[in-house]
Amino acid sequence: MENITSTIQAVPLNHYILLSAIIFTIGVIGVLVRRNAIIIFMSVELMLNAVNLLLAAFSSYSGDASGQVFVFFIMALAAAEVAVGLAIIVMVYRNTSSIDINILNRLKW
C-alpha cells in the first residue's frame, strides 16, 4: 500500500490526461477507418474505457469518491450497451449476411 501510494505521487496528473486522450483518439480513428461493425463497436468500448480511466484518475488525485462511483455506473451502462448493440449486429447479420456497414448506407436517407 505504501509502495503504491508513493508510486502514484511521482506521476503527474497531466500524464493521465495525455494517456486518456491518446486512447480516446485511437478509438475515434478506429470508428473512422474500419468497416467491420464489430471492430467499430470495440473502438467505442476503447473510448468508454479511456473516459473511465480519466474519471478514476481525477477522483484519486482530488480525493473525492464520486468520480469512482460514476465509473461504476458507466461500467453498468457499458454492459447494457454491449448486450443491446451486439443483438442489433446479430440482427443486421441475419438480414444482410454481412456486417459491413456500407450495406447499411440507406440509413443515411
Partner: protein, 165 residues
C-alpha cells in the same frame, strides 16, 4: 513511477493493435489485453474496487459476448472489405486533429493539483460502498432497471422472427 509508463505504453500499443489488426478474433484478444492494462492502471491508482469490477465486467462478460458473437457469425476470417486508402488517411488525420485539440486544451490547464494525493483509500470497497448506498442510492437502483431493459431488449432484438422467416 516507471511502472505507470510501462503500462501506459502497453495500453497504447494494444489499443493500436485492436484497430489495425485484420482478423476480428485477434482484435478481440488485443482488446482484452488493453482492458487488462486498464485494470493495472486502476490498481496503480489505488482504486481496488474498480480494478475488480473492470476485471469481471470487461474481461469476463464483454469478452465472452464479443467472442460468442464472432463465433456464431463465423467471422474468424479476415475477409473484411477495407476502406480505400484515401478514406483511411483522412480518418487518421481527423483523429490526429482531435488529439492535437485535446492536448492543446490540456496545456492551458493549471497544474495545481498534480501532486495532491490522498492517503485515505477512497477506492476501497468499504468507502465506495458507503458513498454508493448513501448519496447515490437512487441512481444505483435505477441502473438495475436499465440492466433489466437491456436484457429484455437484447432478447427481443436477437430473437428470430418466425412470421417473416
Amino acid at each position: 513511477m516507471s511502472l505507470f509508463y510501462v503500462v501506459a505504453f502497453l495500453s497504447i500499443i494494444f489499443a493500436l493493435l485492436v484497430i489495425f489488426t485484420k482478423n476480428p478474433v485477434h482484435s478481440v484478444l488485443y482488446l482484452i489485453a488493453t482492458f487488462f492494462t486498464f485494470t493495472i492502471h486502476y490498481i496503480i491508482l489505488n482504486a481496488q474496487f474498480l480494478a475488480v469490477v473492470n476485471f469481471i465486467v470487461y474481461m469476463g462478460a464483454i469478452m465472452v459476448l464479443f467472442l460468442f458473437v464472432l463465433m456464431l457469425m463465423n467471422l474468424n476470417k479476415d475477409t473484411e472489405p477495407m476502406k480505400s486508402t484515401l478514406l483511411k488517411v483522412v480518418g487518421a488525420i481527423a483523429g490526429g486533429c482531435l488529439l492535437v485539440t485535446l492536448v492543446g486544451s490540456m496545456k492551458t490547464l493549471s497544474s495545481a493539483s498534480t501532486t495532491a494525493m490522498d492517503n485515505t483509500g477512497i477506492g476501497l470497497v468499504e468507502n465506495l460502498g458507503k458513498v454508493l448506498f448513501s448519496d447515490f442510492l437512487l441512481p444505483f437502483e435505477l441502473s438495475s432497471i436499465l440492466l433489466l431493459a437491456a436484457m429484455v431488449g437484447a432478447v427481443l432484438l436477437a430473437k428470430r422472427d418466425n412470421k417473416t422467416a
